[in-house]
Symmetry: C2
Subunit: 386 residues, 2 copies
């Protein structure tokens, strides 16, 4: 049976495909975007989980938009405007997919920073969007490029990860946030603001959402995979009602609604008096690991390799001298350290910066130090640098 034209264009996710190799005995994985399983707030969810059998109503069909008490919580917690609404998703990945299916016709123009989140490249690829890249700088997208793109190409959406970008870790400055919001309003481009790493800031102050400067021009995707637990598949998309309503229609087709027991457990967790402390602890654990990885890289990276400091999130982006970074990642896996080559974060035909994405949240400090040793050995031999 022939595949759809849309699907024929999609490559399977390199990251998900190597996850099994990356889990082989002895391999230290800096490849996935996995939170540390030991940090999951299981103890804060324990009472909720064990009381599920006493709440049989949670096991019946639910409303497509989500479990009503959870929607109420989101409305208050995120201070939604009266004409805005929340839609619970099976992970924020689903929220992004629903947005593409509701609003992106084949050849519609969607803007992203390059390099880009792989899951978004896949979603917009499957929607057969015309994805336009703008380059990324240390404090966000290149604004001149972005304005020229908005002005001359009239894109429909701008997909952005302003807090600790995946894969680069870049966090947008306040000035960039304000300017991007203004450009979205001026050129009538809808901002899709994806903030899965927002709460994982371990340095500096949390900055306003870009969408806070253009609430009616934006859809916001939040994830509970990093601060609660990814296995539960919980996310939410918020925005004005007239844009959420079509997403609900698509979600009816997609899965009717998300798991109600999982929604109830998420709500109990978010309302737990110790949840804020859990986030504080999580940040501190990840900060320690980041500092270890950064320090090791500073000491050991050979000439021609560079990385920028990050203030949070899960990733360090190491740029390399000219080399086949895909071959490098494979050689690294043979040397028992898994990393992701930059190639996968670009569209076909784009100019690729040779680089590696290193995750620092799912390995201990001892493992991170050992991983850098193994990686540096491979970089030196593959890139011919000292």
């Amino acid at each position: 049976m022939e595949l759809t034209q849309a699907l024929q264009q999609i490559q399977p996710s390199y990251i998900r495909e190597i996850l099994s190799d990356a889990q082989a005995p002895g391999v230290i994985s800096l490849a996935g975007g996995l939170p540390d399983g030991n940090t999951f707030p299981i103890s804060l969810m324990e009472q909720s989980l064990t009381s599920l059998p006493e709440r049989p109503a949670l096991f019946q069909y639910g409303h497509t938009a989500g479990f009503a008490p959870l929607l109420d919580y989101f409305r208050k917690q995120y201070q939604l405007l009266d004409h805005h609404q929340a839609l619970v998703c099976t992970g924020s990945q689903q929220g992004l997919d629903l947005i593409a299916r509701a609003f992106v016709n084949p050849d519609d123009k969607v803007v992203m920073e390059a390099p880009s989140y792989l899951g978004a490249l896949q979603v917009f690829g499957l929607a057969q969007a015309n994805v336009i890249s703008v380059s990324q700088q240390v404090d966000g997208p290149n604004l001149e490029e972005l304005e020229a793109c908005f002005a001359h190409q009239a894109p429909k959406l701008f997909y952005a990860v302003p807090d600790f970008h995946n894969p680069t870790g870049v966090s947008w400055s306040l000035a960039v946030r304000q300017k991007v919001a203004q450009l979205c309003l001026q050129y009538d481009v809808t901002l899709v603001e994806d903030v899965p790493y927002r709460e994982l800031r371990f340095k500096g102050e949390m900055l306003p959402l870009v969408s806070s400067f253009c609430p009616d021009q934006a859809l916001v995707l939040r994830s509970y995979s990093k601060i609660a637990a990814p296995g539960m598949r919980m996310g939410v998309v918020t925005g004005k009602e007239e844009w959420i309503a079509p997403l609900i229609k698509v979600k009816q087709c997609a899965d009717l609604h998300s798991s109600v027991p999982m929604q109830a457990v998420l709500l109990d967790l978010l309302q737990h008096p110790n949840f804020d402390q859990h986030i504080v602890t999580l940040r501190s654990i990840y900060q320690e690991r980041y500092q270890c990885l950064a320090e090791q890289l500073r000491i050991k990276l050979p000439q021609g390799c560079k990385f920028n400091e990050v203030d949070g999130g899960m990733f360090i982006w190491v740029t390399l001298p000219e080399c086949d970074n895909f071959a490098l990642a494979k050689a690294a896996l043979k040397n028992k350290v898994a990393v992701v080559p930059s190639t996968v974060f670009y569209q076909q035909g784009e100019k690729i910066t040779p680089a590696l994405r290193l995750n620092f949240t799912n390995a201990t400090v001892e493992e991170l130090a050992e991983a850098v040793d193994r990686l540096v050995t491979v970089i030196k031999s593959e890139c011919g640098v000292m």
Copy 2:
């Protein structure tokens, strides 16, 4: 922001929209396809649910295809051929959506029986398929029509609900099953066999799956919403590997994977020594309700109204004299009984048989008797019959 052309064609689900009205105090709902919440096997899931906090690994990211021990169980339980595979879905609704997204280009031909499952009409509508209807008889699709359609129109898929069809309750005979499989093989049409009600047979013997006669020409969708609990959103699609692999690629985009804790609880339930007894009990409860509803209808339905006996499932299909069945359903809701008018089960422009779908699984025998009184009053006044 303009909707996609695909979405502009989709009507929201009447059934899901009236669910809130149907839940108003005093209304007896025969409208939804809801199992009875009191039958949920909560006690059989209790140990599994309460032990979730001891299994933190379930809360990490999982594989897109599903939780490995659950996939192993499906392979054995459903006796999958060596070159076949299972993919866990967020409800079988998602399985259907993934099939459409992987294999149905705009204008590709998909065959369904008319009337049709609304969720499938929505999915194939969103895929912009060219949906071709064949009429349904008491023992399955009209085979002459079906063969003519296969021969002259070369459709890609035939979507079928052979066990206790939604909305009509029709169950295909063995001869029809064998013939349809043969036609699918002969004309190279892929059978999508959707069997959510298969285990809810309370009369006669379970017949072989249609796909058992053409395993390499079929994809099978199973649901755990009727025999476990719908709130968990658990389903599975099985078929040959080369057709499951593309579904996995689409599922990566759609939601990465389904909730792992829910998959683990489902596996524990399916393996529980008392699970088979749960199904026996469920069948007996639903049989009693069916017999009550059927008896009431036999006694009270006015002239010109008819229904066929069913051997299982969740629905009775009552055909009516010529009338505005949409107006009738609305009048019934005012008279505090919720039913679904046949209109919603047909594509736009199709010849509609005036009828109502009555669910018998989510009301007590007392409520069913009262519901028929209320409904008959409305039928008499709206259709002008005695």
